[in-house]
């Protein structure tokens, strides 16, 4: 139990070889005769030697760590995403450094610079808000970034989303099949691709069913519980303009249901709802909530794979983009519209 931790030199000394020998043995680039190897291994054990990762990283010029930046870890959607990335990273012997941006561009940029400083070998970047190109500029100049879940327009790096359009379509088809024409879209700002695509899908389904002159009403905001509450209040204040709502995140859905419940508005009696994400325990809600399910874990796993597989030297431009399939999980929050 020495005070200082043993270094390679100590091991080499104890084993009577040079540090190079020990290092190379440890890194597998050397096969030694039984006796020498044994001597070295004994020394390592006796001294309780642990390689110093900082020295190793400095020497090798890489960190075997990837960065993961998400808006908010406490959000179950991102939490699940993070868990999937972490598991995948671990299975590949990579560490992950976690950063939460709370959707502040300043912090996002700061974290992007981490990779410039070689802090991490690559970055999986998830944002949640619209941006005016500042982010894209940084991302492009940093490289070795994979964008997941929400687009950063203008960033020319590999991207991975769920099939938002299809999600919107499935929601719309389900609602239309139950007789809903007047569907409110409660989703993100138009600048956000996820919002736009989900809306496009919804509209496509409604057009398919009711004809081209249907134009879904929209309330736009953030993917937050607070916006959900706001949207529900506004929906009530506007005199319930629609028989169904497509709430495009778990948070929005939760916020809306919360207010409807408090105001005595029945779901699906007075208004039907389809949610999006389906990470929350919707099956236990009152009523249970029909929702479009994102394959969050798959997206997480695939993001890391993408980060590692990509040949960053000669990355095609535009960089590849992948879509993961979504599905609709039918529960009880959709019913035919009430008679007026």
């Amino acid at each position: 139990m020495s005070d200082k931790t043993a270094s390679l030199k100590d091991v080499a000394g104890a084993a009577g070889v040079s540090v190079a020998t020990v290092s190379r043995l440890l890194n597998g680039s050397l096969s030694l005769p039984e006796t020498t190897r044994k001597r070295i291994e004994d020394a390592i054990r006796d001294l309780n030697y642990r390689p110093n990762p900082h020295a190793r990283r400095l020497s090798r010029g890489r960190s075997d760590t990837i960065g993961l930046v998400v808006p908010d870890i406490a959000n179950p959607f991102f939490a699940t995403f993070v868990a999937a990335v972490e598991a995948e990273a671990d299975s590949r012997d990579l560490a992950v450094s976690l950063f939460a941006t709370l959707n502040r561009t300043g912090r996002e940029v700061a974290y992007l610079e981490l990779i410039e400083r070689k802090h991490v070998d690559g970055l999986i970047f998830v944002t949640n808000h619209a941006d005016e190109g500042q982010l894209a500029t940084h991302i492009n100049q940093v490289g070795k970034v994979v964008i997941a879940d929400e687009d950063v327009p203008g960033a020319d790096v590999p991207k991975l989303f769920c099939d938002n359009e299809q999600g919107g379509y499935l929601a719309g088809r389900h609602l239309a099949a139950h007789g809903h024409r007047d569907v409110l879209f409660a989703g993100s700002q138009e600048e956000m691709i996820s919002g736009r695509r989900r809306f496009d899908g919804l509209r496509r389904a409604l057009h398919e069913h009711w004809g081209e002159d249907i134009v879904p009403a929209t309330y736009r905001g953030n993917y937050t519980v607070e916006f959900g509450r706001e949207a529900a209040r506004r929906f009530i204040a506007d005199g319930m303009p629609g028989t169904a709502i497509f709430a495009t995140s778990d948070e929005i859905t939760i916020g809306m249901i919360e207010v409807f419940r408090a105001q005595g508005i029945s779901v699906p009696g007075d208004v039907s709802i389809v949610g999006f994400d389906d990470v929350a325990p919707f099956h236990l809600f009152a009523p249970s909530v029909t929702a479009i399910r994102q394959p969050v874990r798959d997206i997480g796993r695939r993001s890391l794979a993408l980060l590692l597989e990509t040949n960053w030297q000669d990355l095609a431009s535009p960089a590849p983009q992948e879509l993961m399939p979504v599905e609709i999980v039918v529960r009880e929050s959709v019913a035919p519209p009430a008679k007026r």
Copy 2:
């Protein structure tokens, strides 16, 4: 836009000073005349210089990174905890390295060794399962570890829990006040301190209300949805032995409610339930669920503070232990027992 990133030496060269000067300027241990400083700062800007963190860490012998080991990030309780730690770390300019153990002792030990290797400057350790001393041994020999949420018996490091006994007591008192004598405790194994303390609190409340010969029945398992389901099934199979249940985690609560709902057993009509944690959106469940709320974020923040505040050189033995207050959030899942 050079190919290689600029190093201190490059900056020093461009500014016409030595690397030591630049380094010391950057680290604040030197005040230079206006003109020199300007020259150096210009050079830094022109070269887009970023310090290499690995070199810095190697040289300084610390990483300004703390490790955070939790069982499962996807679990909303831990996710919230992680978010709180991350936020606190960020505000102190520390990075956090995240590790998920999935409750496997092997991985827990592996992560403990990280700190031995100086990978991180300290570790916040959260476990979720009973252990036979192996963990404690490692923790003690590693040092610079703070244990949160669940005890690791035998580990002599600072610890931080919620007031589990008080939580059990509040649950028991609430149930007793509604007329429940026969309360089933659905919780963790007795080896886990959280389970034991919560049970003690429950019993204390029931004794206080009904007298000393009440002995609450217990189902023991893990803090998982799966165990919740199992417990509910067993409860039904056993002929509903009790009028109320104290389910000691969000997951157990969710699992039980799921099964009760599927089996047409009414909560709180047929059986009352009090949950624990209250991170899940219980207010939207059917019925909304009364639960003991843990101050998860506070625990997270405080854990990091504890890690940094502790004087590890001469740490008193036994190490200090703190308890965070809990509260009961009353909703609709408790009603007087049905008449038999």
